[in-house]
Symmetry: C2
Subunit: 142 residues, 2 copies
Amino acid sequence: MAAMEPRNPIGEKLRSNGYHLTPQRLMILDIMERSDDHISAEDIHQQVRARYPRQHVSSIYRTLETLKKLGLVTETDLRDGKLRYHLQEKGHHHHLICEKCGQFQQLDGSLLSPLKAAILRKYRFRADLRHLAIFGRCGKCA
Amino acid sequence: MAAMEPRNPIGEKLRSNGYHLTPQRLMILDIMERSDDHISAEDIHQQVRARYPRQHVSSIYRTLETLKKLGLVTETDLRDGKLRYHLQEKGHHHHLICEKCGQFQQLDGSLLSPLKAAILRKYRFRADLRHLAIFGRCGKCA
DNA sequence: CTCCGTGCAAAGGCTTTGCACACTC
DNA sequence: GAGTGTGCAAAGCCTTTGCACGGAG
């Protein structure tokens, strides 16, 4: 396989940390890039397999693990039994999830800034408020 | 087994909703009552089994499910693969969990009130901010 | 008698791990 | 050749479900 030229910051980061940007990883990243929302490992798997059927889920998990470790990907738990992933570089937002109807909408991140500041001030704790999931009842179900 | 007198609000609530306060449930509630922190189903299971070895995990889950439905118990995900439970009547608080060292401390609930209000105002969404888990880096690990 | 609750066993669903081979540096 | 990555299979872990029996109302 021809050498992978690091054309993007993610490839760069991988290489500078001793990891490789393999075709499989490219496909995974590509899919995450295109996805509007957070997707599960299984979602990614299915999409990759459409083009490359031999792709195995375990590689997805392993790649996701690596990307997480490098801070390139964030993990969100929407409480439906599977974790969702999202490219950090695509920016971050938050979710309001209705416990009754299951619908979720995005939350303006600026609402969280005061909280983050308050936590830092009072507890010296650097809250990672990317992709927070807040549960409750939406307007219709309340 | 003699009839269970509903001596407490929880028994009352169960009965008024057509559920029974069985010895098993009493043990589960007793353990949750004593526990300072949030405990997992498996934790409860082990403690119950110390006194009553035939107790099976499935009953714990089923009881917890019932209590959750009645709003008597809250569920928290500390991202370590298992869910934690806590008696609603014991009051609620929040967690700051360090992603590096794993330690967690409690967070003053009053810090969240403004957020809750802002979300309701802007999105008409009733956020359930009981037992929120906030991840990040503690003072030592930052 | 009907519904609820239990223990038990088995299954389920998502995620992780061991292994051998392939590729990169 | 040392380290990294992959497909494959199998295991792991927490949680849920089916079933039959027992007990409460």
